[in-house]
């Protein structure tokens, strides 16, 4: 087991390294850099001032030198300085992390609470009207752009009630109730979308399990139908669901980009867009690497969980 984890982490590290090269390269491909944007806020261009700022930010050095410098900084724990804000990148990123993580976790909870029971019901009542309705409902969730859903929610609220959730972040310590209100709607919006996938997988894996012989045997043995389903089927059906939950968590972050923008939540997904638009390389690089680490770790965690839940699967051979 330990070797397996070590192996996976090792591969993960390699992947991160590769990704860092890709991101670093792509950003510098982008037309325009921070200096261009700074000048655009000044409304003019001046070549000598430009050269001075490039030197100050270290942008005049060859690309590979900058890359090595960045790696060296990461290894020593220094995430560099934001080009835009002239402050350490970590200082700027740190307060964003809890917001996004909270939103991601809440969305995941919503998606599981919504998805799993609906999947079960749909499987049990397979091919009935209810099944179709639920499948259409969940598919609608997968089909709607999440930013549209968010926009419609906010606009409806302000049109009908003259009220919208707070546009400034309310921390749970400040006002717990308001904080919950603020996070409820975005979590629902994102969670609805993720729940669709989870519902589908729950349904399909449950259906597959229910066809298994041992279920029929258990039924024949006389245990009441419902207990049969809940005890035997669900336990075995849960495995693919866990996998999907893990994958979904990582990819929730994609949906968070637009949701945080629409609901004005100060998370790192929203900040990423801003940083990309400003060509604030240190921030973008660090945020992207952070997301990648979250993805890799959550995949690993899910595989571990899979191994734990299914005695048939054992790693490290």
């Amino acid at each position: 087991m330990k070797t397996y984890i070590a192996q996976r982490l090792g591969i993960g590290l390699l992947t991160l390294l590769g990704m860092s090269i890709v991101i670093f390269g792509m950003l510098r491909l982008a037309p325009g850099d921070i200096v261009d944007i700074l000048f655009s806020t000044g409304g003019y261009v001046n070549p000598s001032e430009r050269a001075a700022i490039e030197k100050e930010l270290g942008l005049d050095r060859p690309v590979w030198v900058q890359y090595v410098e960045w790696l060296r900084q990461i290894v020593t724990g220094d995430l560099g300085k934001s080009y835009r804000y002239d402050l350490p990148a970590w200082e700027i990123i740190r307060p964003l992390i809890p917001v996004t993580l909270e939103l991601a976790v809440l969305s995941l909870i919503v998606s599981v609470v919504l998805g799993v029971p609906l999947g079960v019901i749909s499987a049990v009542r397979q091919d009935t009207g209810l099944d179709y309705v639920l499948r259409v409902f969940s598919l609608a969730g997968l089909s709607m752009p999440s930013f549209w859903l968010g926009m419609v929610i906010i606009l409806s609220l302000v049109a009908w009630f003259g009220w919208i959730p707070p546009v400034t972040y309310v921390s749970p310590r400040e006002n717990f109730l308001l904080h919950c209100v603020q996070f409820a709607l975005p979590s629902l919006a994102v969670g609805y979308r993720s729940s669709a996938l989870i519902m589908r997988i729950t349904r399909s894996s449950l259906l597959e399990v229910m066809r298994e012989d041992y279920i029929r045997t258990a039924r024949a043995k006389g245990q009441s139908g419902r207990i049969v389903i809940w005890r035997h089927a669900l336990k075995n059906a849960i495995l693919p669901v866990v996998t999907v939950i893990g994958i979904e968590f990582a990819f929730l972050i994609g949906g968070l980009v637009v949701t945080e923008t629409v609901f004005n939540l100060p998370g790192l997904a929203r900040f990423l867009v801003e940083a990309i638009l400003w060509r604030d390389y240190p921030i973008v690089q660090n945020l992207v690497m952070f997301i990648a680490i979250v993805v890799i770790l959550s995949n690993l965690f899910v595989d571990m969980l899979y191994g734990f839940l299914d005695p048939r699967v054992r790693y490290g051979h």
């Binding site: 591969i11 390699l14 992947t15 991160l16 590769g18 990704m19 890709v22 991101i23 792509m26 950003l27 491909l29 982008a30 037309p31 397979q126 179709y132 499948r135 259409v136 598919l139 609608a140 997968l142 089909s143 709607m144 752009p145 999440s146 930013f147 549209w148 926009m151 419609v152 606009l155 302000v158 049109a159 589908r200 997988i201 349904r203 399909s204 894996s205 259906l207 597959e208 990582a250 990819f251 929730l252 972050i253 994609g254 949906g255 980009v257 637009v258 923008t261 990423l272 867009v273 990309i276 638009l277 973008v284 992207v288 997301i291 990648a292 993805v295 890799i296």
Partner: protein
Amino acid sequence: MATRPLGVEVPAVAMALRRPGAWTVLARFCRKKPLGAIGGFLMLVILFTAVFANQLQTHDPIATDAGQSLARPGADHWLGSDHLGRDIYSRIVHGARVSLIVGLASTLLGSVLGGIIGLLSGYVGGKTDLITQRVMDILQGLPLLVLALVMSAALGPSIPNVVIAISIPIIPRAARVIRASVLSIREMQYVEAARAVGLRHLRIAFRHILPNTIGPFIVLCTAQLGSAILVEAALSFLGLGVPEPYPSWGRMLSVSAAEYAQKAPWLVLFPGLAISLAVFGSNLLGDALRDTLDPRLRGA
């Protein structure tokens, strides 16, 4: 005439054994998978709209008309007009073209490239496979939208660039699916037979294995098409997608739509509905195709 040793009516047997015509297959599909049929129908409508956009439009989609600013849906503007007086219906009709082109192009590009990579990687195996898998991991380690965001910013706003930006995250996903399919087929007997006969690897790969991955490939494409359309909408919404003057459903939702939404809710409703229906149709169709083409996954 030859003798008929079996004593059965040949015509009847022949009819029973004859391969069913295309229409029969279609009818059977519609009956068995009504949701899939609806999905297919939706996609056909959108395809039709995209192809015949110029004929279906009622106004020039980029022509402004000050007197008709924020007009309600009615006889003149079927779905209303925006703050510049542009007809929403015509813009949605042309937006279908953009969304479909971008969605299809990026899906096909990504799926084909990824498919080839997956095919070769799965077939050759060994070190090549290992390295390719690691490279695919790198591209897949980021959520679709995040990677598309960075790529789109890197390349700049234009339709070809958006297509490339969205296709790149699709490549690893396609590669993974095709590779899995290849791995399962590779061990089958007829492949062993082909190798025993001495056929060259490339020939085996393309002539024997590839046709059997078509099923998963189609399923993959329809699944990714929905995602591609959504990502394009999100990119346009964030300002990094298809540039003006091409009407894009996503961009119709950014900027002025939300600002004037209370006076003119149709600005927000219709483009969003259009996106949802397109993705919905693609998902329905994709599900039904998967059920039909890959019986092992039936029920999902």
